[in-house]
Subunit: 447 residues, 3 copies
């Protein structure tokens, strides 16, 4: 994994689902955590695809109410019988060690070990994902069935880890836009050997960035953040007050590869443009989906939506954290995410980025009455039919009328689409035609 | 038709339905268009009933984004077999000629004729209504069944029309009110030999104006506009910026004579007083009705509601354009409209005009506590009954209490009626009693 | 009844239902009216429980649009047969006399008597409650069955009453709070020998005041008014403009002892804090209830909500006036009200007073990002579980997150509870923990 094993994604995004799945598969086995080599390797791999910058922030750096934690290095973890039979081994699965576990090398009674073992009695074949970032302890995660079979009075436990001053690593990429304002995509990358949560998010975000890089000249910039959860977002916010203030729309992405319905959780503002745009797209996309109100529990939207920022950042998911059986278990594996689901997530978000970029407010050059569309080729020639239909150029006649009626400097294209009950793209085409006919101009432009 | 053939409508409006139907019947055969003799004769007939002013605007006059078109004169139109048998003749039906058709006098092959013939294959016995105002072409409209029987290789076609500089004609009448603000009634009058669309609108508007003339002393003025569709409204708006600014409430009227349910399409503002008043009236009137959101397709509300004006103008209809089978066909005839439906439309609109005129905002002389109603004869004498009922004078007790509670300068009578869930007229009677008892005064009046 | 017959209510309110019922029972037989000895005795009895001040306002005193009426003294009322058999006697039931009846001592024909007799033909065994405060007349109220049996040609009628200059009496108690603003509890006390309407209100209000007296240090003051209906509230408002302006929340209490569902009628503002708080409590209390819009008919909220005051005063009831069969009849007796219903009303209102007192708006000390809860003991130690659950201290984890997210100076605790969908008390506990951890401070406090 010293260089990209994958071919770059196609400019045409025909095979993008498979490409994203392959990227996730490549990164899957790595034992990531808040800090350390796992995150660094993961971000390095992404940087081979897109011009990502890796930032390293020293342990102990004060960041808002927090401090950057010590760096965690994990070299191995195992439980053995006293006769040396290895029952649990980190090399088999990165979830086996309690994330951020301190070191241990001891023979302990089964009873003492029990206090350090995490299992899922209701899902006895799965390994749980557990963390103890800010508790000084050690532990193992294993299938409950295995734990029940472990009846020896004593076991040898070894965790070869270091918790020491080092750095927190995060990745950042900024593609400036014309207006100076940005769309934020924020993805947590600290989860070890879980596919949906959140290699799916990483893969989709990487593919979206590639697409934006290939379609320059955008009104809005794009800022990608690949961060360890919570402390990563807090670290970025602490160091980037100015960039944070330029975020006009934002999303956290997580669990976007499973085949279930799409979910969108609103930003704290509930009616921000991102909230309305996402709801609009999902309503018109004809895909099964659910809209969730904001709540202060979830992913890093918690930080962006904290009251001192209150940024318009929602969360795009398929499976909702804590609600699907594979969540935070070894069943969140590469079979759980599918190229088709990744592809659909990617396409919806690509549409969203395009919508936000195109969501301009227009004014009529002269708003009095309707302009004469006929002489501009924007109206059918023989009138009186019941059908409103389309003009010669395939333009939706009603969309043209809506644009001309609502181009008053107070309705964005999304406002118009919502009021007209038409897809955004239909209004956009109508607005482009009106713009070409010099009937409307962007608001704030000198007439 | 050199003078009124009808007796003037009764001051009491007992027979108003029949009167309106007779007026429509008289005007039905005329071949109207955007311009020309047909509209002029139609308006002249109305001017014999009410003091309508006819305005003549020269062709070529710039009006907003448009120019007044050439005047169309139609003297005859026919299709004949080569042996002189007349198959289609304008004298049989004014819809037979494509409205605004240029002249033609030629023998054409059936194949060439086909490009100039408009039929309704799904309604083979009906003549469609088609226009080609701004296309230089000629054409005929005929029943599809007839067209199918026309199998000769060639036909003689004659359209004796002129498209030449002349005038656009529209009718206007203004009855001033006390406040200087006006209610607009706008009716398009350019449709030839169609009864519901829009002789019904013309007849109801004429009857309403007669009624307002007979009940002077109104707070709000009334402005009636009888115009060719679109270009008429645009012409009026271009020449009457000041009068347009005085329109406080407005309606376009169309298709108000068919026996179907009543429809009201909201103004662009959606919650203007006219919108709330109409919805209130219809809710309490117990008539089947539908409320439609604003859309920029329909009648001349499109012009009044264009963003440069954004006037509170809705549209009152029975059948909705484009949705009933008779629409824009020869089946929209005198049998399709009924005196009873015209009568109901008239009564609803008469109520509406009265409501808008009476929709005053009041303030209590002293708003502290309830006034003592008993000593003013506004309250029943023996209290304690469960029934709230009516005071001696038949006054609704609850309505009196609502008026006294909401007379705070911020609630109009309509606001009160809506909040109380009572008909406007009930609140009006209560307010009149409170006014007579000197408990309330109109807001803005010196106490 | 020269002193309190009841032991004082327990500081712990275990037996408060029985205590309130006993207080109502003691006051039940008294013939109260707008003025006079009945009200004075009733208020005197309450003053033995709580430090109530009795105000006496002379007859004829102008109060807003009214004048304080003459004082009514009733010594006896009876209907006898001419041979001296007493058929109706005020000593049997205080409802027998038309309230505020003038004196009479005469032999009258049955026909003449009929005009002065009030019965309930549909409830022939019940005595109605009728008043004639501002009509100079006399009358009796009796069971319809009795009236039908009275077939003598003449009867002797005696009403020994005086209507003469005197005083109107009302009771007032003010417990100041820290902020200077008050919660108003207003109870009408003029109804004779009716239990639910309104001895139940008087008893619950008295118990609530005792509780507030026992739990000092409140942010908001409490003002109790025990008044004759309408004229009492008008008299108080006329004399207390300044105190009225300090009413931040208010309730009228009436009919709070019957076993039916609880009802709350909104204040005129409909969305005042009191309206939202009451709806919140009822929704979370799991008791059957109904929410009613404001209307200008009902109890003294009519005066507090008149447009010159527009105070945020709603009405808390169980049975709604005019809708239950016992209303304003002799069936509104001590069996109709129950200790359990009184107890539930008391508890709901005690919770309401506590909620209003605790409904503070907070701000985060530093609103940027989430604070680190772990090191403050506000977060569970091992993360990753699906359950959000509770921290060690039993604190609701979601409530803590909501408080920290919405502590922006624009959301009160009630706003937070509503948005979080959690009971107010849960948010309050979370806010207390955050306050103790110095994470939030009350808005307006120097940081």
């Amino acid at each position: 994994m010293d260089g990209p094993a994958l071919s770059p994604p196609p400019a045409a995004d025909k095979d993008i689902g498979a490409w994203m799945h392959a990227l996730a598969a490549e990164l899957y086995p790595i034992c990531r955590s808040l800090t350390g080599a796992g995150v660094r390797r993961t971000l390095g791999r992404v940087a081979a695809e897109i011009p990502l910058t890796l930032h390293e922030v020293p342990s102990g750096t004060p960041v808002l109410d927090w401090a950057v934690p010590k760096e965690w290095t994990i070299r191995g973890a195992r439980i053995e019988t006293l006769d040396g039979r290895r029952l649990v081994d980190l090399r088999d699965h990165a979830l086996h060690v309690l994330n951020y576990s301190g070191p241990v090398d001891a023979v302990v009674s089964r009873a003492d070990l029990a206090a350090h073992v995490h299992t899922l009695p209701q899902q006895p074949d799965l390994i749980p994902y557990r963390t103890a970032y800010y508790a000084e302890t050690w532990g193992f995660c294993l299938p409950h069935r295995l734990w029940e079979e472990m009846t020896d009075p004593e076991y040898r436990v070894v965790i070869d880890s270091t918790l020491a001053p080092g750095h927190l690593t995060y990745g950042e990429l900024h593609i400036p836009g014309e207006t100076g304002d940005d769309i934020l995509l924020s993805v947590h990358v600290c989860h070890p050997q879980l596919a949906n949560d959140n290699l799916s998010g990483l893969a989709v975000a990487t593919a979206l960035v590639k697409r934006v890089l290939e379609t320059p000249g955008r009104r809005l910039g794009l800022r990608l953040l690949l961060l360890p959860a919570t402390i990563g977002a807090i670290t970025w916010l602490a160091r980037n007050a100015e960039a944070a203030a330029r975020i006009r729309h934002g999303l956290t992405l997580s669990c976007v590869g499973d085949p279930g319905p799409v979910h969108y959780k609103h930003s704290r503002r509930e009616t921000a443009d991102i909230d309305r745009a996402m709801a609009h797209l999902l309503r018109h996309a004809g895909v099964e989906h659910g809209l969730l109100p904001f709540s202060p529990y979830g992913y890093d939207e918690r930080q962006y939506c904290s009251p001192g920022y209150d940024l318009p950042v929602g969360c795009f998911m398929r499976g909702v954290h804590g609600t699907f059986p594979e969540y935070h278990t070894s069943a969140d594996n590469l079979d759980f995410i599918t190229p088709a689901a990744l592809d659909q997530s990617y396409r919806l978000l690509a549409q969203l980025l395009d919508l936000l970029d195109a969501d301009v407010t227009y004014v009529r050059r002269d708003g009095r009455g309707e302009p004469q569309l006929g002489r501009r080729g924007l109206y059918r020639q023989i009138a009186g039919q019941k059908e409103q239909g389309r003009s010669g150029g395939g333009l939706d006649q009603m969309a043209v009328l809506w644009v001309l009626n609502l181009a008053d400097g107070r309705h964005s294209l999304l406002d118009m689409a919502e009021r007209a009950g038409l897809p955004f793209a239909t209004l956009k085409a109508a607005a482009d035609a009106c713009l070409a006919a010099d009937l409307i101009i962007p608001a704030g432009t000198a007439g």
